[in-house]
Symmetry: C2
Amino acid sequence: MPAFQGANMAKQVATNITWHEGDVTREEREGLLGHKGATLWMTGLSGSGKSTIAVALEQVLLKSSVSAYRLDGDNIRHGLNKNLGFSADDRAENIRRVGEVAKLFADACVVAITSFISPYAKDRDLVRKLHADAQLPFIEVYVKCPLAVAEDRDPKGLYKKARAALAAGKGMNFTGIDDPYEEPVNAELVIDTSATSVEEAVRILLAALRKQSVLPA
Amino acid sequence: MPAFQGANMAKQVATNITWHEGDVTREEREGLLGHKGATLWMTGLSGSGKSTIAVALEQVLLKSSVSAYRLDGDNIRHGLNKNLGFSADDRAENIRRVGEVAKLFADACVVAITSFISPYAKDRDLVRKLHADAQLPFIEVYVKCPLAVAEDRDPKGLYKKARAALAAGKGMNFTGIDDPYEEPVNAELVIDTSATSVEEAVRILLAALRKQSVLPA
């Protein structure tokens, strides 16, 4: 574990309580915690498998003492973003805020794993830029799955609802049914869950984290 | 390091890659990372010493391999909250969002250390409730300092600006000058920085974290 560098910066104020002026640098933080932070941005249709992969990856990372945290509709839409609806503006603001929070986690040396459909390229590109500007690793993961397969899985019954709403003439703006999903064209990773096991998906993600030096090789 | 519990929950899918259905419980996460999360909410006048204490505490925690992260105007106002101004509503929303983000960090087993003037009791109480509802440790720290002392320190020259604006008949709604600071009445800790060293403040905060079992005794 490296100590804080720079004898004239460090103040020894008492046994075990030393600090230096100003922010902890990112390198100091990484050295003290043993790994870097990053954002793994999972995008894909409802039912594509984003959450399943995120849950498995988070557990594998934590078991290696790598701090990881999932951001998803459950902990965001009922908290930070509970004052947002589903208008076009609110959807964009939803993704922007998630991107900013993921960036904070990555800066804190946590592997942030986001699971949001995030269907619009413009919103995803904004989040990518936030990370690039802060020189933080950003890995866009297109969790790819044919609509028919996702709709057949329908883990939350949302496709059924969306089809019923559409049939009744009341659109839900549901991605894949009556709202577009813009496929990523520059994603770092594409995982086709109709042909990839969860185990294999986790291996692919771990390899990507090693490649970006987020985890030791 | 405890393994995930429950033989029939765990799926051994391959060497080193195992997980169970559903969320990692908070207890599992705490066991794997070796400490709990918490929010230390520092409130006080501009110049009271919130940031100085936060910087020192963060470093001391990180050096003990306790994940800690500061949230302050620098990383929030230019990022997550850059679409907020300084109207009464926007100030309240600023603190609400910071509170929600701190809660996410605490849930992720990070010690979130916030440094915001947060002058209104109503806003601070809302953040306290968010944490209580989620059963996460929340420690309100009133960083107390006589206005005359804070104004004399004036590390960012803001009091000078506020006094000049007031003299010119243009108020800035600056806390302590032409906007009120509502002193906390139920803060877990009160640290008077006109009579307490940074070292002593850090000791007090570490003791509070131990008392709430965030850190091992």
